[in-house]
Subunit: 390 residues, 2 copies
Amino acid sequence: MKGKPLVSIISAGLSKFGRHTDLCAREIFAYAAKEAFMRCPRLDPKRDIKALFIGHMGESYEHQGHTGASIADWIGLLNISATRTEAACASSGVALRSGIFAVLSGLADIVMVGGVEKMTHRNTDKVTEYLAMASDYPFEQWNGITFPGLYALMAKAHMHKYGTTEKQMALVAVKNHFNGNMNPKAHMHKEITIEKVLNSIPISTPLKLYDCSLISDGASCAIITKPEIAKKYTDKPVHIIGSGQASDTIGLFERNSFTSLMSAKLASKKAYEMSGVNPNDIDVAEVHDCFTIAELIAYEDLNFCKAGEGGKFVESGNSKLDGKFPTNTSGGLKSKGHPVGATGIAQAYEIYLQLTEQAEKRQVKDAEIGLTHNVGGSGSTAAVHVYRRD
Amino acid sequence: MKGKPLVSIISAGLSKFGRHTDLCAREIFAYAAKEAFMRCPRLDPKRDIKALFIGHMGESYEHQGHTGASIADWIGLLNISATRTEAACASSGVALRSGIFAVLSGLADIVMVGGVEKMTHRNTDKVTEYLAMASDYPFEQWNGITFPGLYALMAKAHMHKYGTTEKQMALVAVKNHFNGNMNPKAHMHKEITIEKVLNSIPISTPLKLYDCSLISDGASCAIITKPEIAKKYTDKPVHIIGSGQASDTIGLFERNSFTSLMSAKLASKKAYEMSGVNPNDIDVAEVHDCFTIAELIAYEDLNFCKAGEGGKFVESGNSKLDGKFPTNTSGGLKSKGHPVGATGIAQAYEIYLQLTEQAEKRQVKDAEIGLTHNVGGSGSTAAVHVYRRD
C-alpha cells in the first residue's frame, strides 16, 4: 500500500449538523467528543489524551473565546494542554495539522483535534459580518464586499476565462444534496434539481441561494496517535499519510488569478508528495464547497482534472458517488452544513467513515485512499490531508 | 549544563510597545519581524522559514481574524503554512509551544512564532468587553464580572487566607516600573512609589489603577529551529529546554482555590521535569503580571517561594534585578505593556536578550537559565517554558 503513515486516526466523532437552539458551542462539541469516546472503548480519554487542538473561527458569535480551555473542561479533559487554532473556515483543518505536529513531536502520543461553531442563533446580517472578518478589513470589508461577493468574482472570472456555466455550478449543488440526503447527520435532507438551483433567488450574481453552503451549528473531532500504537486502541485505524498547508494573500484582489487557489495547489502538492499518492489514486474526497464554484475550482487545484475543466468534470459524473472521484459523499458544506470551525475535521470524519466502511448508504466501495481539502477565506489558507485505510 | 535542548531560538524581535496610532496589527508585527530578520543575516526568511504560528487574541479589535495568513503576507512569507493560535492572554505562549511541536515533528525545521495585538484605538469599555471573551460567557460575563473583578477576587482570597497586603502588591508595581524604565521598548517609562500605587484610583477593590497592567499595541516574534542546526544561523542560540502547557476551568468560580492557578502549577511542573531544572536554578524569569496579585501568585505557583509567601518574597527583594530571582526585568505586563496576543513571546524575547547578554541596563549578570510564565484568562490556560544559554 502507498504512503507511510504520519499518524493514525483511532476514533472520530461528529455532532448532528443543523440548528441546536438550546446548546452552546462547548455543549455541541460534547456530542462529537462523546461519539469519539464511545467508538474507542479501549481509550481512557482522561488518562490517555495529552493535548487538544480546537478549530474555532469566531469568538463573536457567542462572545466566547478561549475555546481550547473551555472545551477541555466541558468534555472531561480538565487540565490538559488545550489550544484554539483559527484560520477562518480552515480552522479545524489547521487544528488537525497542529495535532499531527504534536504527535510527531514525541511530546504527546495521543492528541484530540476538533472544531466547532455555533452560528444559527445570530441573524444572517451578523453571521455575514462575522464571517467577513476572515477577509481583508481595510481593502475588502471596508468597501462592503462579503464572502458571497468574493466567490461571485471567482465564478465570474471562471465563466469568462473557461466558459463555465451556471448549470455546471448547479450540478455541484444537486450532487451534494443527493449525498447529504443519505447522511443522517447532515443539516439538510432535501434532494434538489438543477432548475431549483437556477431559479433560486440571487445572492451575488452569478451565485444564487442554492449555490451557497449553509449556516449551521456543529462540531467534529478525531483522536490521532502514533501509527505504531494505533492498534492498541482500535482494530481499524485510518492513517494520515500526507499533510500540506499553505497560505495566500488575505485579499482576493492581490492575486494574479481568481480562477484557482494557489494555497490549495501548494498544500495539495505537498500532501501528494508526502504520501506518494497521485490524484488518480484518490477513491473518495471531501472538498471545500462553500459555494458551488469552489468545488469546481477544487477539482482543478487538486488535479482531479485540468485547469478550466471543472465544469465538464462535474457534468461527466466523475464526482458522483459511483464516479471515479466520489466527492463530498457527506453532502459537503452545501448539504451537510458549514459550521465553519468544525468543517475541516468534519471532512476528516467522513473520510474516516468511508475508509472504515461505516458510511452506510453513501459508502464508496473498496475505498482505500481519501483526501480532504479545507479552505479558509477566499483561499488565504488551505489545508489538504491524504488518508489511507489500514 | 542542565537540560537537553528541545529547540533553539536563533533570533527574536519585538516592536515598541505602546500606542501605534497609524498602524494596524500586521504592520506592527512587521516591525518585530524585521528586527528578527535583521538580527539573523544568515537566514533567508522566505527560503528557510517553513511555518508560522501567530498568537492573536481578539479579532474584534480590528474586525480582522485569519491573522496567520494576513501576517504571513505582510512580512514577506507569502504561501507559507500560517496558523493563528488563541488562548486569551496566553495566545503566543501556546503559539511558541505549537511551533516547538512543528520543529520537533521533523516536518518544519525552521519555524517563526509570534504574537500581536492592536488595542489602543478602542475605548476602555470596548477593550474590557473584548478581553472578557476569555472568561465564561453564561456564568461570568453574563453576570457582569470582568477581569479586574476576577483578579480582585483572587487578591481578596489571598489577603484573607495568607494576610497578603495591598502594600506587598504595590511593591510588584514599583519593581516592574523601575525595570520598565530601563527598557526602551516598554510602553511606560515612569518610576513610581508605593504611595503612588496605594493612592491611585480604585478599579476593583483591592486592585487600584497601578495594580493593573496596560492596554497596549505591540508584537513579538522568535525564530526557532532544531538545536543541531542552530549554529548554522547564529553563534549565540538560546535553547528551550522545557515546555509545559495546561488548562483549568474557564470559570474562576468552578475552582477549589482562588489563591493559586492549577494550570500554572501543572505547566511549570512539566517544564521543570522536562528541563531537569528546579526553581533554584532560575536566573531570570518573566511572569504574567496582568495584575500585581498575579505576580505574587506566580512566585508561589512556580515554587520560587512557598504558597502564601508571595508577599514576603517581594518584600525580601528576591525578585528585584539584583535579587536571587530577578523577575520581569523587562518591566512585565505592568510597565512594558500587555498587547495580549504578543505577551507570551515578548516574555521569550526578554529571556532571549538576557541569555545572550543584550539586555543593556537591565542585564542580569551571568544569567544562564531563564523561565517564562504566560497565563490566559483567570488561569484557564498557562504555558511555561524554560530556557538556557548555549
